[in-house]
Symmetry: C2
């Protein structure tokens, strides 16, 4: 975390509300992640979920006195979608959002199903004033720093004005989470020239070109996602989600093919053994858990969506990211950007 927090203030830092029942490895790995976040990263956490199960899990870490538990008897299953969030107002993710809403927590972390977390977040935290739609923001593994892609799936149908707002959200994220001074923004489409693309992106291109406070560098194409050409990539939630999954799938494919190729010959296999340590390093860098997960931006509170298969390390990283974004005031930064953009829009 950037900035200095004097000891006198540290006790007043709000905890991260961690949905202990969401994710493939809940609650054990979630609780283990909470313990790591508190002990190794200095991030205060409150666990939200079924008290008896959480007490058991905390006992195993001798951490009952360190991490408070807020009761939520219900939980969203991983295969439950958006509708379940309406049916279960007392689910662990709903209660976690409620804690932020009433000022008892700084941010929410959940490894639950993305659809369920997004729907519950929208319902319980509500959109920030002036924000048309929240967007899922994900870091792509470029170097020297990640590239931010949004929307990665919260909105399947998008208007051009929403894409402009996503640019503001993404810039606020890049400034806050990555410490970039003047993030470059690109619009994902099917050709470098301004007139290329769907009606949606052509109109968005026009709007972005005239938007102050956004360093819009123009169109980018699918093969620029991992080149670090821009810092923030704006797209609709349909394209963003398909593309992101395509990236994951193809990196997995490339390494799978490579493994197969290596295993096919004895000599190449020897080579593979020599490389094993280096490949492990590479795998760690590409590991989505290392970055803390996706962030749902545009609500009255920050929601970090950890990967459903997250283990303790991933959960701890997600808690640290959530605490960092909250401490840096990302919600009010977004509020200021949107208010200023809406004001200058009305003036025209």
């Amino acid at each position: 975390m950037n900035g200095v927090t004097p000891d006198s203030l540290r006790s007043r830092v709000l905890p991260v509300a961690l949905d202990a029942m969401g994710g493939d490895n809940a609650p054990d790995e979630i609780v283990a992640g909470a313990v790591q976040a508190v002990r190794e990263r200095g991030v205060p956490v409150v666990l939200v979920g079924q008290p008896r199960a959480l007490h058991q899990a905390l006992l195993a870490h001798d951490a009952v006195s360190e991490i408070p538990v807020v009761r939520a008897e219900e939980a969203l299953a991983m295969d439950e979608g958006a509708l379940a969030s309406l049916r279960r107002p007392r689910s662990s993710i709903a209660i976690a959002c409620h804690l932020v809403r009433r000022g008892d927590a700084a941010a929410v972390v959940s490894a639950g199903s993305t659809a369920g977390v997004v729907a519950t977040g929208r319902l319980r935290l509500r959109g920030q004033q002036g924000v048309m739609r929240p967007a899922i923001t994900v870091p792509l593994p470029t170097r020297p720093h990640p590239t931010v892609l949004l929307d990665a799936g919260a909105n399947a149908d998008t208007k051009p004005e929403m894409l402009v707002q996503f640019a503001h959200l993404g810039v606020a994220y890049a400034e806050t989470a990555l410490g970039l001074a003047r993030p470059r923004v690109g619009l994902l489409t099917i050709g470098a020239e301004p007139e290329k693309g769907s009606k949606l992106v052509k109109r968005a291109h026009e709007l972005l070109s005239g938007t102050s406070g956004i360093d819009f560098t123009g169109n980018i194409e699918g093969d620029d996602l991992l080149t670090g050409k821009v810092d923030v990539i704006v797209t609709d939630g349909f394209t963003g989600n398909v593309t992101l999954k395509a990236l994951e799938g193809s990196v997995r494919y490339a390494f799978g093919q490579l493994r197969e190729t290596i295993n096919e010959s004895r000599l190449a296999k020897v080579g593979g053994l020599l490389q094993r340590a280096k490949l492990r390093e590479l795998a760690a860098r590409l590991d989505p858990e290392a970055h803390g997960g996706a962030v749902l931006l545009g609500l009255n509170g920050t929601v970090v969506i950890a990967h459903g298969s997250s283990r303790a390390k991933g959960i701890a990283a997600a808690c640290e990211l959530a605490a960092h974004l909250a401490a840096q005031g990302i919600v009010s930064r977004i509020g200021e950007r949107i208010a200023s953009a809406n004001k200058s829009h009305r003036r025209r």
Copy 2:
């Protein structure tokens, strides 16, 4: 090529009209590709382009008498888009299309800019009766056979009914080019359940579920593109193009990272040297040129769009693919499918 062509008929096989002026390596590599197609693959070719340049290039292969040349003094530059096709009615790609139109060639091959080839093809060959829009069809490098993705970029804005037609085009291609008996069709979207996705794909899902002659297996997601789960993947041209480029970019990224990782340590470098031969094999399999290129389907004639950077081998493969599709009557197969679909649609 499948099927047996008796010698008595061989002389009547129409040649492939090859745009000799399109592509980064035109005309030399294009002419070299024509020579390979004729001599090594038994595919008759007619070159379309600037006669003097082509004569020179053919002389170098001692192939002046083997490969006829049709004059076209103009050419579309690689950076010219759709509008140039209107401005240049006598470009090499326009003349190549004209040869097909008047029955003097079986199909067109060009390594020119995709936008220029698509626009010229639409203008000169016109859409097949009943086909709303032509679509760019590309093979993805799955095994044991490629997976067909369409539309890869001809239509940035698409209606649900067009996606259903793309399914018909893709099935005709998979039957013809890959010899598949009952290709499985998937719809690219952002969740496995039928209700997931944009308005466009949700409606397309409904339509495809009730379409006879299509083995529709439901939604697929971005990470299924390279798993071979389906044989034909249907999507709009915007998503298809972005996704395809994302795939190319990320495979390049993964191998780049790997190379970097290998080079970082001396020990791993030794391993890398041992693997070099195996990696070359893998690279060859992933090489898009090996598959002959993208195909523009739905016009009154088949147009194969070879990669802009194609060398002789890629051009020869593209000519063979074009000849094969034409010999198998893909245009009339598509015509029958669309006619039957439109008929059953009117009956309802």
